[in-house]
Amino acid sequence: MTSEGTYPYFRGGVSTWTHNLIKKLPDIEFYIVSIVPSPFFRISYDLPRNVRGLVTIPLWGEEQPGEHFSPSCLSVLRRVIRTGTSEVEEEFIPSFKDFLEEVLSGGKNPRRMGEALTAMRKFFEDHEYKKTFKSEALWKLYISKLGEDKLYSNMEVSELIDLARVLQHFLRVLIFPFPEGDVYHSSAAALCGVPAIVSKVKEDIPYLLTEHGLYFRERILDTVRLVKSLPAKIFWLNLFRAIVLANYNYADKISPVCSFNVNWEREFGIKEGKIEVIYNGIDVNRFRPLNVRRDEDVKRIILMARVDKLKGIIDMVEAFSYVKEEVRNAVCQVFGPIVDKEYYAACMRKVKELGLEDSFLFMGPTNQPEVEYNRADVVALPSISEGFPYAVVEAMACGRLVVATDVGGVREALEGCGIVVPPRQPRELGKAISEALLDEEMRKELGMKAREKAVRLYSEERFLADYLRSYVELLSEKKIGGMSK
């Protein structure tokens, strides 16, 4: 199981999904490959007993890449000695050139990308990574390739160096040991899919890809927001596109968590037969309507979300100010960790600016989400981007009315049993929540339908059966496919 910025180091939807899947398929042995920003994070989960190993790949924060694996001095020295100018020029540069051309073309030929990654990985088995990237010939190639295009040729040297530096860090994924598995399962069409791609090219190991949020879509949002210069924006988007396409190309099966993702996958030219939606599953016995103590004097809206830009909390603050105009006794509680402190500060400023200090409350994470859902009159989800959010499905299973933004798989989850509004439109969101708070009959009716739908489509039992079958299917097909009859 490969992941990026999630399990087992960070909490969130993808990590919950991974943890549940591993823990509840105890007869399958898992090795985890986890890409993290730096090696200084702590594991946030008790790893289930069927986890046989964990490979952590920090992209940053190490002087010598892979140093926390404690490779012997001798082996490092051997690799350094082997990495001469001629080795780099003859054995590494041709595949790096293919890789770079693929990046610059935005993934014109995903097979070429897969082969280039595999060849570079093979090179790093015997050669030293840092010395390779200090090669003058490599730098010359990089400059000349970018210089061929007017767009990049006008970039400042500092920008070119920055791009090269980040690219070099991304390629660190190639120097870590990849576990020998029967099936590779990546939780995103991202860098974390690289071990799966390489294993597919090298040993024909089946590759299952699950798409939660759409990696490429989220990278577009990030790049547009964070990268200032146009050439750099285009460079990164083409790089991400090339990585995504290589993942799609080499995956034997793609299992998006909702049909919404399928549209994007089709857009990338993926064959329909390769795609099968597997919805996130939840424990519908834990998440069910409960008799809980409620304060009847207030109308309670809850959000079950980490405090992060993608969750649209700031829109919710504004939406809530409109709710307060209609429903004076409304309170809004956000349950979840603060992962972006700057964003949290911005939310708090907005709360203060709108005079909502007494009624818009950040509660921190909860261990009893099922109780909080049941205490709510409305469960809101103001996100800007989502895959198939657990918060929505859990609230549905608790028989609550959900008012959410129309992002990712939210619409298909709430079809016929909840309310969706366009994202980033706080007034619309506020209006829908107010209407829901003032109409008890509607809340009950839609809440009942939501529970029915959750039990029918989003049970953990079904989710586990589908993934178990996917693993067995890929292996069975490989076994029987290798024979002719």
Binding site: G106, L237, S259, K479
Partner: protein, 145 residues
């Protein structure tokens, strides 16, 4: 976090080393364990792996028997999962059909395939939410498509 190797892992390793008879024995042990744990899909896969090893070892008679057993296991799996995951069930019948073909049990193969097809017809098509998908065109330098 090193644990004792499972029969599955041993079988896979030995199969790679082309020690088919030994691999077969491990796969059979794995199938037995999985059957006891009621993991019918895994038992079916182990039997299929054993059948393949028998075939590679040149023991066609044993291979036929094992393919037949694997087919039976895939059917059992398909039956057990039909109420939870119809798609899993359909796949189980299709896989059973392939195994029966290898076992030269053509009637059984035909029947399993018919069941799969009739279930497939009844399966709800997945929703198409095509509206509002933003398009993205990659930038490529002039001369590229």
């Amino acid at each position: 976090m090193e644990a004792e190797e499972s029969h599955w892992s041993m079988g896979t390793k030995l199969e790679k080393e082309e020690k088919y008879q030994e691999a077969l024995e491990h796969y059979l042990k794995e199938a037995e364990i999985q059957k006891q744990r009621n993991n019918i899909a895994m038992a079916a896969l182990s039997l299929l792996s054993a059948a393949k090893c028998a075939l590679k070892a040149g023991d066609n008679k044993a291979a036929m028997t094992l393919f037949d057993l694997a087919g039976d296991s895939y059917v059992k799996y398909a039956e057990s999962t039909s109420s939870v995951s119809p798609r899993s069930s359909i796949w189980g019948y299709k896989m059973a059909s392939k195994c029966y073909m290898w076992a030269n049990k053509f009637e059984k193969a035909e029947k399993a395939l018919e069941t799969a097809n009739s279930m497939e017809e009844k399966l709800e098509p997945s929703e198409d939410l095509g509206a509002g998908v933003p398009l993205f065109r990659p930038y490529r330098k002039k001369g590229g498509k």
